[in-house]
């Protein structure tokens, strides 16, 4: 976010959300030969009709410029992705935290159409929603979800048959802070998904902030105290009745020892020890890299590992996160979206466990400077064997040359955007990877709608919602309709999509597994955990583009506890479910 004093300047590795670790000795399957990326907006056609309501519009209530999240997850176990969208509250409501509008909307997918089942699912709790994380907290094979809010967060247990229950209090979850992104992660490898929640600033909703000239605008987070993130350990195993239980271990685990302004969180194994680590994007402050000490505690090594600040040592306005092997060196890299005037940063891991920023070398420096990046995903959209990038953009402060009367008018622009929000809108961006560690090129088909639509975009979620084998996108925008983009990139290569589950854990998705496929002597890996981007939870399946290969020669899975299994070859262009125990121990 922009510094309060302008002169101060003068002064996952994830399945759905993309991550890859490539064997440095192998060649990419097909490198840089993908088609021109093209996404078509299909939300209305598919029945996904929802417009986000920021609540206290035009009153510069700070949280409204930062929301809202979304998730792709299979809520009903019918093997297609449903959509959860986060909402806020009605404008007419009082300033208190409680509201009367549900903090989320659930859309179940049936016959390729989305149907709003919020009420029947029992999701009628109120609150000013921000983000979402999905994961099975009681190992019953059904994904549950957690909604972060301005005020008390909510944990919803999936009861089956499209019913959910808010169990926050009973489960021992209490986080009254303004929280943002969250992720489920089994940090202690006991088989139960724990919960990490980023908390943003200690906001006091007083009068609108003003810029130096006295014009009303959204606040700069630097004027509010920083807060600490939360880690809740899942202790359901000790629960007498089997109901989900968590205890707050933020202090004991060391997480509470660092105050920041957390917005994004990414789970991954950043030192190859098969224990999950956590990377946190802080707004206007050094980012954290919580390295798992394997004893229930974490240590922030962001500074030591070179992923805390920009190249001149300044904290940036970091928002969204994605991870993957962007320079094809076989090691995980981190992509961080930042504020306008700062570049979206790519930190590439190098020898010695230290990262270095390679945004310029990858061609991602210049194109990101004019925009404020929020949601970000790394996926192989064109199935050419390397990761492409998509970034959802939208300003947080009105540009200096904005029409001052616009902020006080109620009309719509020609493109249908509310005049008030038009000042904050930006185009999102698509970047195609040239492969072999080469440059990214910002490109899109002339008919691409993802990069053409103007919006104040925030969450960006990736997943194959139509089960046609390619990765689609969903983005949220403030005070506007949700956008669902179907991937219609021509001349795509082959693909394979893999879900990893552990029957011993109720058949739940094995978050924290590393899945590797080898095709035509090329080996690519992905880390299974759907939490990344910004306020988002992506498709829990891991997706691989394999270019011209018609099969994968082998599939290797390293399960979250470090146990490895090898699965046999498989034909391309299919969805696989790999169950722990059914592979061969190497």
């Amino acid at each position: 976010m922009r510094m309060f004093l302008v002169f101060a300047l003068t002064a996952s590795l994830l399945p759905g959300c993309g991550s890859g670790v490539k064997d440095s000795s192998a060649e990419p399957a097909v490198s840089g030969q993908g088609g021109i990326l093209r996404f078509t907006s299909v939300a209305t056609d598919r029945g996904l009709i929802f417009s986000h309501h920021p609540g206290k519009e035009r009153r510069y209530y700070f949280p409204e410029i930062m929301c809202a999240g979304a998730a792709f997850f299979d809520s009903d176990g019918d093997n297609d992705l449903d959509v959860l969208l986060i909402d806020a509250r009605e404008e007419t409501e009082p300033a208190g935290i409680a509201g009367t509008r549900s903090s989320c909307r659930l859309f179940r997918q049936d016959d390729k159409r989305f149907l709003d089942v919020t009420e029947s699912a029992g999701l009628t709790d109120h609150g000013y929603g921000m983000g979402v994380a999905a994961g099975d907290v009681n190992n019953d094979g059904r994904p549950d979800f957690y909604v972060t809010c301005v005020g008390a967060d909510s944990l919803y247990l999936n009861l089956g048959e499209n019913r959910f229950q808010n169990i926050s209090e009973a489960a021992g979850i209490q986080n009254d802070r303004w929280s943002a992104s969250a992720c489920f992660v089994d940090f202690d490898r006991d088989g139960w998904l724990d919960l990490f929640v980023t908390n943003y600033v200690d906001y006091q909703p007083f009068a609108p902030c003003r810029d130096g000239s006295g014009r009303d605008d959204y606040c700069n987070p630097a004027i509010f105290p920083r807060t600490t993130d939360r880690l809740f350990r899942n202790v359901t195993a000790n629960s007498s009745d089997g109901s989900p239980k968590f205890i707050d271990v933020s202090v004991a685990a060391g997480i509470a020892g660092r105050a920041g302004a957390g917005l994004g969180v990414l789970c991954g194994d950043f030192n190859g020890d098969f224990w999950p680590d956590l990377y946190v994007a802080n707004d206007g402050h050094a980012n954290f890299l919580w390295m798992n000490q394997r004893d229930g505690t974490f240590r922030d090594e962001a500074v030591l590992m070179g992923v805390a600040n920009d190249v001149v040592g300044r904290g940036q306005g970091s928002m969204g996160l994605a991870s993957g092997d962007l320079n094809a060196d076989g090691l995980p890299d981190i992509l961080v979206t930042n504020l306008e005037g700062e570049n979206n940063a790519v930190y590439a891991s190098v020898q010695g466990g230290v990262f270095t920023e390679i945004s310029r070398e990858l061609g991602l420096f210049g194109p990101s400077l004019p925009s404020t990046g929020f949601g970000v995903v790394l996926e192989d959209f064109d199935h050419d064997g390397d990761l492409d990038a998509a970034v959802a953009n939208g300003r947080v402060r009105r540009p200096g040359d904005a029409d001052q009367t616009a902020s006080r008018s109620n009309g719509k622009t020609e493109s249908g955007l509310d005049v008030f929000w038009n000042d904050y809108s930006e185009r999102s961006q698509l970047f195609e990877n040239a492969g072999s560690g080469g440059e990214f090129a910002e490109q899109a088909h002339p008919d691409d709608q993802f990069s053409r639509d103007l919006a104040v975009s925030r969450a960006l979620v990736s997943g194959d919602f139509d089960n046609d084998g390619d990765i689609d996108l969903l983005s949220t925008q403030i005070a506007g309709p949700v956008r669902l983009y179907e991937n219609q990139t021509a001349s795509k290569g082959n693909w394979i999509s893999i879900r990893v589950i552990d029957p011993a854990l109720g058949g739940r998705d094995a978050y924290g597994s590393v899945v590797s496929v080898t095709a035509d002597k090329s080996r690519v890996s992905r880390y299974a955990n759907p939490a990344s981007s910004y306020l988002s939870s992506c498709d829990p399946r891991v997706h691989f583009g394999i270019g011209g290969s018609d099969r994968v020669d082998r599939i290797d899975v390293i399960w979250p506890d470090g146990v490895a299994e090898e699965f046999p070859e498989a034909l391309a262009n299919q969805f696989l479910i790999l169950k722990r125990g059914e592979g061969k121990r190497p």
Binding site: M3, L5, V6, F7, A8, L9, T10, A11, G96, I97, Q174, D176, R177, W178, D202, Q204, P205, F206, A207, C209, R210, G212, S213, G214, R215, D216, T227, T228, S250, V251, A252, G254, A256, G257, A259, V303, L304, M305, G306, N309, D310, V311, V312, G313, R314, G315, E340, G341, Q351, G352, G353, V354, T356, R360, E361, F365, L369, P370, G400, Q404
Partner: protein, 463 residues
């Protein structure tokens, strides 16, 4: 056999002299044309249509800002050829975040006085975040006017470093370092250039030089820690991290007298209240309070100003005036948790515990994670003899802010008084994790360990 005319022959002779009369004519004509062009240019320069100073929408600006900008605009209108007038207007616009308009003014100022490096430098600052190439050109222009312009050269070096133009960055930074060998800024930037250039040993030397000159800069130790980590010297890396973490965690900022001059022109309420806070922090309560009162006579729209004033008056013991300010504020800004909190604190000091409780509860209703309000509510509850609710409020205060050590100790004291020593011990352990070496907590831990578990606790454990 025919002979060619001499003229033709001569005209082909490159080494020969041209005929005298036409040459003089051409030269004279050329001079006349040249003079005409020069005179036209001078005439155009002096009598070209004067550019107008930019118009800005002052409708939302406070009276001070509006008056300041209007006055400077008039000076430019009256003296459009005065570079200083344009520059002053630019600085005032820049100070109040009209960057585009400020850039235009700096451009005019630089055009009128090309020898003043300040104008291209300030122009560079206005475009730095949006157009780095232009910023670099302007910074070079500033340095061209004054080669010892250290601030501009350092900025240029850092800009080039950020753009990965490492060789160019290094060249500028080496000059900056040679011009000012004691300056920390080029040393640190040179260390970063060497690090990014794959020369960790050299990077370490530059950073060590910087650390030797000023060991209090956190960034230097952080950089050293990273270099040591990368080169496999984990012990040194840990050592440097420990030093870094013992230093204040502030954004990296460098002295810049020109930017400071711009900042000093700010007249907006938030800036003034920040100045007032600085005065209060330095112990100058009378000036701080006076400034806050002045702000409130102009602008009652910022609840935070009331809150700061109320706190300042409370701190100097003028509880009556504080109550007047805070009661007024609570009426004007009933949704401000901060004002209710401050009012509660003042009421507490006046011994009005029931009213204080009500104010803290109002603050918490508006902001449920208000850790200090929860802590103060706990204190108030203790005064009212309600230890049960006091304990709950202490627990909520540390849940909201785990680093709030007095929250742990307050709760622990209540638990000890009830004989629940192991629960108290757990809270104190948490306090020690968030504040290692805290002597108050350590003393309480010691006292606790010297006493044995109560019979009730032993009974509970056996259950």
């Amino acid at each position: 056999m025919s002979t060619e005319p001499p003229l033709s022959q001569n005209s082909r002779d490159c080494g020969g002299r041209l005929p005298a009369r036409p040459t003089r004519f051409v030269i004279a004509f050329g001079i006349v044309i040249f003079a005409a062009v020069v005179l036209s240019a001078i005439g155009f320069w002096n009598f070209r249509p004067a550019k107008s100073p930019p118009q800005v929408d002052l409708s939302q600006a406070n009276a001070d800002i509006a008056a300041l900008i209007q006055k400077s605009r008039e000076q430019v209108i009256n003296s459009p050829g005065n570079a200083a007038a344009w520059g002053r207007l630019g600085m005032e616009l820049f100070a109040h975040e009209w960057e585009t308009e400020a850039a235009f003014c700096f451009e005019q100022a630089a055009e009128l006085n090309g020898s003043e490096p300040k104008w291209p430098y300030l122009h560079a600052l206005t475009v730095m975040s949006g157009d780095r190439e232009k910023a670099a050109i302007l910074l070079r222009q500033a340095i061209g006017s004054r080669t010892d312009f250290g601030v501009a050269r350092n900025r240029l070096g850092e800009l080039l470093l950020e753009s990965n133009a490492l060789k160019e960055a290094e060249a500028e930074l080496v000059i900056a370092h040679r011009s000012h060998p004691d300056a920390l800024r080029p040393l640190l930037a040179l260390a970063r250039v060497a690090w990014l250039g794959g020369r960790p040993d050299e990077a370490k030397r530059w950073a060590q030089d910087a650390a030797a000159k000023d060991p209090s800069l956190r960034s230097v130790h952080e950089l050293l820690a990273m270099i040591c980590q990368a080169t496999g010297d984990r012990a040194a890396a840990d050592r440097e991290m420990k030093i870094a973490e013992s230093l204040p965690d502030r954004p990296l900022e460098w002295d810049d007298p020109i930017a400071a001059d711009v900042l000093s022109r700010r007249r907006d309420t938030r800036w003034k209240s920040m100045q007032a806070e600085e005065l209060l922090a330095s112990g100058d309560y009378s000036r701080g309070i006076r400034l806050l009162q002045q702000i409130l006579t102009l602008d009652k729209g910022e609840p935070k100003v009331f809150s700061i004033l109320g706190r300042a008056l409370t701190e100097v013991g003028d509880l009556q005036s504080a109550m007047i300010v805070l009661t007024d504020a609570a009426t004007l800004h009933p949704d401000s948790a901060d004002i209710h909190f401050q009012k509660g604190s003042t009421l507490f000091l006046r011994g009005e515990f029931n009213a204080a409780r009500e104010s803290f509860e109002n603050a918490i209703r508006l902001k449920p994670d208000f850790a200090l309000a929860l802590f103060n509510l706990a204190n108030t509850m203790e005064q009212l003899g309600d230890s049960e609710n006091a304990l709950a409020a202490y627990r909520r205060s540390v849940a909201a802010q785990p680093s709030l050590v007095p929250g742990y100790t307050g709760a622990a004291k209540i638990l000890v008084s009830r004989g629940e020593k192991s629960a108290a011990g757990e809270l104190l352990q948490s306090a020690l994790i968030v504040s290692p070496g805290n002597s108050t907590v350590a003393d309480m831990m010691r006292e606790l360990s010297e006493t044995e578990a109560t019979p009730q606790e032993t009974e509970k454990k056996s259950d």
